[in-house]
Amino acid sequence: MTDSLTRPAPSDGSDQDPAGRAGHEDHPERVGFFTDTSVCIGCKACEVACKEWNAIPEDGLELTGMSYDNTRGLGASTWRHVAFIEQSKPLGHAQAAVDHTDVDVLALAAQGSATPPEQAAITPTTPGPPSPDGRTELRWLMSSDVCKHCTHAACLDVCPTGSLFRTEFGTVVVQEDICNGCGYCVPACPYGVIEQRPGDGRAFKCTMCYDRLGAGQEPACAKACPTDSIQFGPLEELRERAAARVGQLHEAGVADARLYGHDPGDGVGGDGAFFLLLDEPEVYGLPPDPQVTTRDLPSMWRYAGAAALALAGGLAAVFAGPRRAPAGRTRR
């Protein structure tokens, strides 16, 4: 394990085998999540499945009043978080002003999911012109956020106890019996994922269901997702699937569709959990250009070394020069 502990993350994204770097030999292939937000329906089954499977305690049952999102964000006791964004903006070429009076909904239901719009005669979540009372239609963006399991994970790099570690699957997991609650991983995470649990003190986050992976099962959230918005699998395969999907959406006119966290050349060496988004990342509460803070650590140590030497030199210099007796007193 010493390799990943002593060597700061390379910044060129060339090293795409985090498990191997961490010293796992003959490890299984790296797995991850591809969260395709274009098919997320905001049901929060992932949140529930995650809480149930991982026995995460309740962390408040309050209403935020800001949207259907009463979870607020990821935290020590929220490892999946469904974001809800309301926008008066169309989704591709979708339209709202469609007359549905003659539609046989039972016949539509028999067609199953993914019925082509021409056949469905229904286009979902679309803004039209304002109605006479001034209300406008809006589109919903829904996205299930999760720990990104970065290729170069800042939380893991800065953990002083070795509690955070890289698994053989290339994921990042906290060892609850080691963590002493120093809280350093919390501000280190560029995505604001990991957090200390109030009343417990230790840091917690998504484990990508390490226990289920070990048993050959997919994580609970992906298993529970009814629309395949959360897809689990080998990261390479997910990246290919994601590229095809974004192409499909562009062709359909959804020019806003873009992948986020898929690029091994980004500031964290690519995410183990990446996304297809329909707007800028910050709209979903994601950083537009995240970077692993330890990328700059060698430079930080150099500046700190210079400052320490300057302090030693400066404070040595103040002893130079003749020792004068203060005015009005005689030298002892």
Partner: protein, 355 residues
């Protein structure tokens, strides 16, 4: 029209939901909005967007009293050990003894603050479970494990007069480790995603060591007789100059994030630090050379100034983490700069080919 039937083998003719044709529309192109350009014109770019104003990163859960207090005490101890060794070697016995004691008390207080801030204080020993250069906190733990006993031995052996040669070695050892103790805390803060700390990682170590020199000089002025406080007075001026310059350079460097150093609680603390530093430095330059009360007042002002700087930096960091603006705007700028560079590259290559 295709239909799907439920059969023994599942639903026939069904396509996976993940291929849902979201956004396809009934009459593609009728609205005349095709391609990326049209979409972007629809919604003018706001200065920055966020998810209901919620922070992107999680602010540190550290207590200001513990962690900013540790930054202050660690600096006081580290720089104090250097002044103590200098005083020891130049025969300023009173100043040396006072600074050795203050460094020991300060580093003991630091350790107590650090353990107190842990979510699981009983597991503090896990800090020495690994030796991990990628974690400034791990390096700091090892540094404190070496520095603490050295500073303690220097003080105890000075006060008791036992083992003078060992005492001298401990004094020098503490003086060699002291600057590292004072400087590494800047890396501890900067090695996070907190914009006010990370963006200023080049200057922050100088802010911290300057502030440490100011604190140690203040302690020297408060405790040493005027005939021994020459080095402390000069250290006060030097530290004040370095700290003031470094804070300015850092505020220029961090761009929009500098607001967090100028407004709110952090702004008040940084302004108080500037005023107290000026007062203390002025006192150190003029009356402290002959008047013990004046030296004590300047010393107290310098100590307070150093504490204000550390708490100011701490609160600026928390403020910069709590407002998504300071995470999103600098990253957006960086991203756009990089995209512009990448867009410029092919054009450059073309020009090079033609030439």
């Amino acid at each position: 029209m295709s239909t799907s039937d439920v059969t023994k083998g599942g639903i026939r003719g069904e396509r996976p939901g993940r291929e849902a044709e979201a956004g396809r529309g009934l009459r593609p192109g009728r609205r005349g909005r095709r391609g990326r350009r049209g979409e972007e014109l629809m919604v003018p770019q706001a200065e920055f967007t966020s998810y209901y104003g919620r922070p992107v990163i999680t602010p540190p859960s550290w207590q200001a009293r513990d962690i900013a207090g540790y930054f202050f005490l660690g600096g006081l101890a580290g720089a104090g050990s250097v002044l103590a060794a200098g005083s020891h070697l130049t025969g300023r016995r009173t100043a040396a003894r006072a600074l050795k004691i203050s460094s020991t008390v300060a580093i003991a207080g630091s350790a107590a603050a650090l353990v107190h801030d842990l979510g699981r204080p009983e597991r503090f020993a896990n800090m020495l479970r690994v030796f991990k250069p990628t974690s400034p906190m791990s390096m700091g733990s090892w540094l404190l494990a070496a520095y603490g006993p050295a500073a303690g031995a220097a003080a105890v052996l000075d006060v008791t007069g036992l083992l003078p040669r060992t005492g001298r070695t401990a004094t020098i050892g503490a003086a060699l480790l002291g600057p590292a103790v004072a400087a590494y805390t800047a890396v501890l803060a900067a090695d996070t995603a907190v914009p006010a700390w990370h963006e200023g990682y080049r200057e922050l170590p100088f802010v911290f060591t300057g502030s440490a020199a100011v604190a140690a000089a203040g302690m020297g002025l408060m405790t040493a007789p005027p005939e021994e406080n020459g080095p402390a007075r000069r250290a006060a001026l030097l530290g004040a100059a370095v700290e003031t310059a470094a804070v300015r350079a850092m505020e220029r460097r961090v761009g929009v994030v500098a607001e967090t150093y100028r407004h709110g609680r952090a702004g008040r603390l940084m302004r108080a630090a500037r005023a107290l530093t000026a007062l203390g430095a002025l006192g150190a330059a003029l009356p402290a050379r002959c008047s013990r009360p004046a030296a004590a007042v300047s010393g107290a002002a310098l100590l307070a100034a150093s504490a204000c700087t550390r708490f100011g930096v701490f609160h600026a960091g928390v403020a910069s983490a709590e407002d998504p603006k300071y995470t999103v705007l600098p990253q957006r700028e960086r991203l756009e700069r990089r995209q512009a560079e990448q867009a410029g590259k092919p054009a450059e290559a073309e020009r090079a080919e033609q030439a």
